[in-house]
Symmetry: none
Subunit: 239 residues, 2 copies
Amino acid sequence: MRNTRSSTPVWQAISGALRADISEGRYLPGDKLPTEAQLSARFGVNRHTVRHALSQLVDDGLVRTRRGAGAFVASTPTDYPIGARVRFHENLLAAGRRPEKRVLDVECRAATAGEARALDVGDGAPVCAYRGLSLADGAPIAVFESVFPLERTPDIDRHLADTSSVTDALNRAGVADYTRASTRLTAVLADVTQALHLHLREGDPLLRSTSVNVDAAGNPVEYGRTWFAGDRVTLTLET
Amino acid sequence: MRNTRSSTPVWQAISGALRADISEGRYLPGDKLPTEAQLSARFGVNRHTVRHALSQLVDDGLVRTRRGAGAFVASTPTDYPIGARVRFHENLLAAGRRPEKRVLDVECRAATAGEARALDVGDGAPVCAYRGLSLADGAPIAVFESVFPLERTPDIDRHLADTSSVTDALNRAGVADYTRASTRLTAVLADVTQALHLHLREGDPLLRSTSVNVDAAGNPVEYGRTWFAGDRVTLTLET
DNA sequence: TATGATATGTCTAGTTGTATAGAAACTTGC
DNA sequence: GCAAGTTTCTATACAACTAGACATATCATA
């Protein structure tokens, strides 16, 4: 232990050095940073000091760590417009990201009361629930669950199996076009399953969107709920 | 890093998600689960983490894995009463299972010394040995071998060929009714052939039942041995 | 029947995350 | 000036997750 301490704590200096490396382009978004052990050796300090430095960068959103995998330079949040026409693929491509879907489950069953109301169908009407993950550049950004009324979107389950595009599936089910009738946003906390899928911790903030899409005649064809990872997506409301 | 928030280990969250899928009927007993690689991709985690999650389900008896084949939803053990009147079909149906027999072999030959003693017939008396598998809902639960004395059950081999019901075959052979005279139970280890038939590993525990069934006059009509898969069948002794 | 592909099982090792604790320097209040 | 609290740095240990490679069993196909 040194006799006197300089005015700047070591952890802060390390933080600053790494921040400079990132801002000067030595590390690009997605790049892996040196391991804690390597940084510890490089700066000649204890691993915990390095961890403290890194935690500052994580808090500031510059770095994202993954247990066992390493620390990576964070990407900027994906901008996701929400307006009259919301199309996942188009939105991601416009943001310069590679869109990807991962289907978790498709099941046809009777609508719950809330779903029946949202879709304007009879109680217990047959619907098809479609759950999955949305990813941008390979990173999960949202969990979604969409419910389709089978009376207005016949065989939607088969169409969903054949294409990853909801727009395409709806088209094959006879819905030539659809628009967003309503969107409600709420901040919620991630539960254990959402945290699992989104690579977050339980309790991390999520932005939940609840929406209804309607066909040209104004009939609901999709009741959707999406939970966006709070720090990975920025929703832009178009007016 | 956030200090205070509880965090479920990823392997536990995955375990929980799969457990919920099973309990909610998305996977039925006997169904194959997605492969480790598929689950790894679905949850975006390392295959070892998935394996740990699965191992919890295996430990809890919910899932059974076989090297090279996959992971399957385990069935709950079938309850199988043993009392004065033991009827395979009735027992399985009473347990809510679909009974099925698969005949491996029927051969008429001379009785061995042990069989002769058990059936109370002369040394070398002609008998008919009937070997097969018992299944519940398509899953093998036991290997059996029954020996019938031809002097008391004439043409039993032909009758066995005509019906999968032993009760029915005996009836056609002139045995109007029969009851259990004795049952002896022993725990044994599966040999390689039994393991193969029962989809177990060699050395897994089996419950071997050795029994004699007698006609109304008390004469033995069937000497039976059944090896039950230890974890797939629970024998209930009626008194 | 042989072979290639697929899937589980095992081993070794690296990396991050958490827990606990000690010591010294610094800060604050009296 | 001193005591108490905080900050900084160090240390060890273990858990959780990742990574890679290879062995063995099963399945499908030619």
